[in-house]
């Protein structure tokens, strides 16, 4: 499993990121200050580091210096959003830079982009007999490719990423089709088709008054 370290002194945000990334399928570790992070980094290796810049103890830049020789990709998350700050961060060697306040979805997308680029965990999502190659947009079941339309693929990906959680209908619609949901049948139809193609009638559960859920482990 892909391991990510999150170094952020704002507890609320650190937990938010950890929660979202864990749900997306990564293993996360949180450190609240530079020194603790440095200690952890000495002991363990990670596939990606999400660093805040303004930290007590060692600041983000110092941690970056420490991480560069280990070839661990780094994404800075910080409220320092001016162009010169961003350029500075990137020039020092960070792989990406995201400014607070950010959309958690964007953070996850950037994380995956960096992981893909640096060849760690080329994004593959899997559950039971189905594996999704997110980059190539291909779905395989038991080794055989499953023909899915782009929308079906996205819907499946969303369910896999939030495995075990019941997703609200309107959010599902918004994430895939965009805009307000006017007619509920499009979504239902696609879910039905997915169930049929994958033979996952039991695995994609309908949650009463909420929406749908991909059954957890």
């Amino acid at each position: 499993m892909t391991r990510i370290i999150i170094v952020e002194d704002e507890q609320a945000i650190a937990e938010l990121i950890a929660m979202s990334l864990t749900r997306a399928g990564y293993e996360c570790k949180v450190a609240n200050d530079g020194l603790t992070a440095a200690d952890i980094l000495e002991e363990e290796t990670f596939d990606l580091a999400l660093l805040d810049i303004m930290l007590p103890g060692a600041d983000g830049y110092e941690l970056l210096e420490y991480l560069l020789p280990t070839q661990t990709p780094v994404i800075f998350i910080t409220a320092k959003g001016s162009v010169q700050e961003r350029v500075k961060g990137l020039k020092l060697g960070a792989d990406d830079y995201i400014v607070k306040p950010f959309d958690v979805q964007e953070l996850i997308a950037r994380t995956e982009s960096v992981l893909r680029r640096t060849g760690r965990g080329g994004m593959q999502l899997s559950a039971w007999d189905v594996t999704l190659d997110v980059t190539a947009k291909r779905a395989m079941q038991n080794g055989t490719p499953v023909p899915l339309t782009p929308l079906e693929f996205e819907l499946l990906e969303l369910l896999l990423r939030n495995r075990g959680a019941a997703l609200y209908r309107d959010v599902l619609y918004e994430r895939i089709w965009g805009g307000e949901m006017e007619d509920t049948r499009t979504l239902d139809l696609h879910i039905q088709r997915l169930r049929k193609k994958l033979d996952w009638q039991e695995k994609i559960e309908t949650v009463y008054k909420v929406g749908y859920r991909l059954k957890g482990e």
Partner: protein, 483 residues
């Protein structure tokens, strides 16, 4: 046309006019002198001739002779002999007829003119290139003598003198032009220096000065220009400083807002997207609540800060009794094991009661937080002449000396981690500082980094008809970026 050129032209013009006028006066004066000298001489000579003729005529009369044309011719011959040495010619007339004896050298024009002359008249007659002075006198027996003297030389001399003068004037003016040009350029050089300096200052080189030495008006101009440049430089620095402080404030403020917003949006979105377990929901809601509270406290303090900058303060006579009591009451539930000693004081000061209470509350609250669970916080009042000094001291964690000057800046935190836990806005001390400032005083901080802190400020005692400035020290140390 440049100033130097104008100057040179003016000098030249004045010189030319003066020279010409002076020269003319001189020349004509000279000419007049010479002419009158000649006239004097000629007149005298004419008089002598008249006298001679008169004597002869009288003599003739006495011996019973007749004054007729024949006699006149004789007289003419007599005159001839006398006058041949001189440059003159004459004409004798008998007034009976116009016929006369005329000396051979008299030019016709002159003769004609002479005829028309009255007795004792004299005139200048031009004949070709010569000028004659003609005198006419009527003698006895209707005999008239007209003598003409050649005065051409005098006129010629005048002409020559005029030419010489003009040539001289031309040479002098040319030399003067060169000298004037050089001189005026030399004199206006300081002006060019001033122009260059003002241009470079306008371009941003605020340290430029002109420094022209001397005691004249130009040096005085240079000095006042330099003084002005000095003023501009310091004002520019002030404005740049002010701008930088504002930028810093804005940067810090947006950071302070963005951080809780990220958490609020993130958790709210999570709740919105999926059905969460009750514990997760609770945790998310708790975070949202806490962060929103932080934003609220921040915006409240910010508004207060803004209001203080905008509204003029209305001072009243405020007794310290109520504020001190209010603080003691408010802090009781918050102080825990920290001992709070508020020295009772009923003195009256010039202040705004609400602001004063806020100020004291903030300082005492900070002191309690610094004690971290144990210690003593004291509020003391000390009156001195027309002033009252209030001091809030604590035995808690002090402020390191190097941070002391920064502590009153907006959003500055000495211990960032602790501040986060406390949910502080970062504006508390900045606000206190501002309150002190609008009261005409300032916060004085004293801390040795480990053994507690003392914060004090001074207010005016409410004494009728007392002129009081609470704190003589300037407040520009604590100038807010919001202004």
């Amino acid at each position: 046309m440049s100033y130097a050129q104008k100057l040179a032209c003016t000098i030249l013009l004045v010189l030319a006019v003066a020279f010409s006028v002076g020269g003319s006066v001189l020349l004509y004066g000279n000419f007049d002198d010479m002419l009158s000298a000649a006239a004097h001489q000629n007149g005298a000579q004419h008089a002598i001739l008249c006298y001679t003729l008169e004597s002869n005529i009288i003599g003739q009369r006495r011996v019973g002779g007749v004054v007729d044309d024949l006699y006149l011719t004789q007289l003419a011959e007599l005159l001839d002999t006398v006058t041949t040495q001189n440059e003159m010619c004459f004409a004798l007339y008998s007034t009976a007829g116009q016929s006369a004896s005329v000396n051979s050298s008299m030019p016709p024009n002159v003769h004609e003119r002479a005829l028309t002359l009255e007795d004792q008249q004299s005139v200048y007659v031009r004949e070709n290139a010569s000028v004659y002075a003609v005198y006419k006198t009527t003698l006895s027996d209707s005999v008239a003598l007209a003598s003409a003297f050649d005065v051409t030389q005098i006129f010629a001399a005048r002409g020559r003198a005029m030419q010489r003068f003009l040539a001289l004037e031309a040479v002098v003016l040319v030399c003067a032009a060169l000298a004037a040009a050089w001189l005026s350029r030399w004199l206006t050089r300081p002006l060019l220096k001033l122009t260059a300096a003002s241009r470079s200052i306008a371009g941003g080189a605020y340290t430029q000065r002109t420094r022209i030495a001397g005691h004249d008006e130009v040096a005085a101009l240079s000095q006042s220009f330099d003084t002005m440049a000095e003023a501009v430089e310091s004002r520019v620095h002030e404005l740049e400083d002010s701008l930088r402080r504002r930028d810093d404030f804005m940067g810090a403020l947006s950071h302070e807002l963005k951080t809780p917003m990220t958490a609020i949006i993130g958790y709210a979105d999570t709740l919105r997207v999926m059905q969460c377990e009750p514990e997760q929901q609770r945790a998310a809601a708790a975070y949202i609540y806490a962060e929103a509270g932080r934003v609220e406290r921040l915006s409240q303090k910010l508004l207060q800060l803004l209001r203080l900058s905008e509204e003029p303060l209305v001072l009243a006579d405020v007794s310290l009794k109520r504020p001190l009591a209010a603080i003691a009451r408010a802090m009781r539930p918050l102080s825990g094991d920290v001992v709070l000693e508020v020295e009772p004081c009923s003195l009256t000061v010039r202040a705004d009661e609400d602001l004063l209470t806020d100020l004291l509350y903030n300082l005492v609250h900070n002191a309690v937080k610094a004690c971290e669970g144990q210690g003593i916080v004291r509020v003391m009042c000390h009156a001195n002449e027309q002033r009252l000094t209030v001091t809030v001291s604590d035995t808690g964690k002090g402020i390191p000396p190097q941070e002391l000057s920064h502590v009153l800046e907006p959003f500055y935190r000495v211990d960032k981690a602790r501040a986060r836990r406390d949910g502080g806005s970062g504006l508390g001390l900045a606000l206190c500082s501002k309150i002190a400032q609008v009261h005409g005083t300032e916060l004085v901080l004293d801390s040795d980094g480990a053994q507690g802190t003392r914060v004090s400020f001074t207010l005016c005692l409410a004494v009728p008809s007392a002129e009081c400035a609470p704190d003589a020290r300037g407040t520009d140390l604590q100038e807010e970026a919001m202004q």
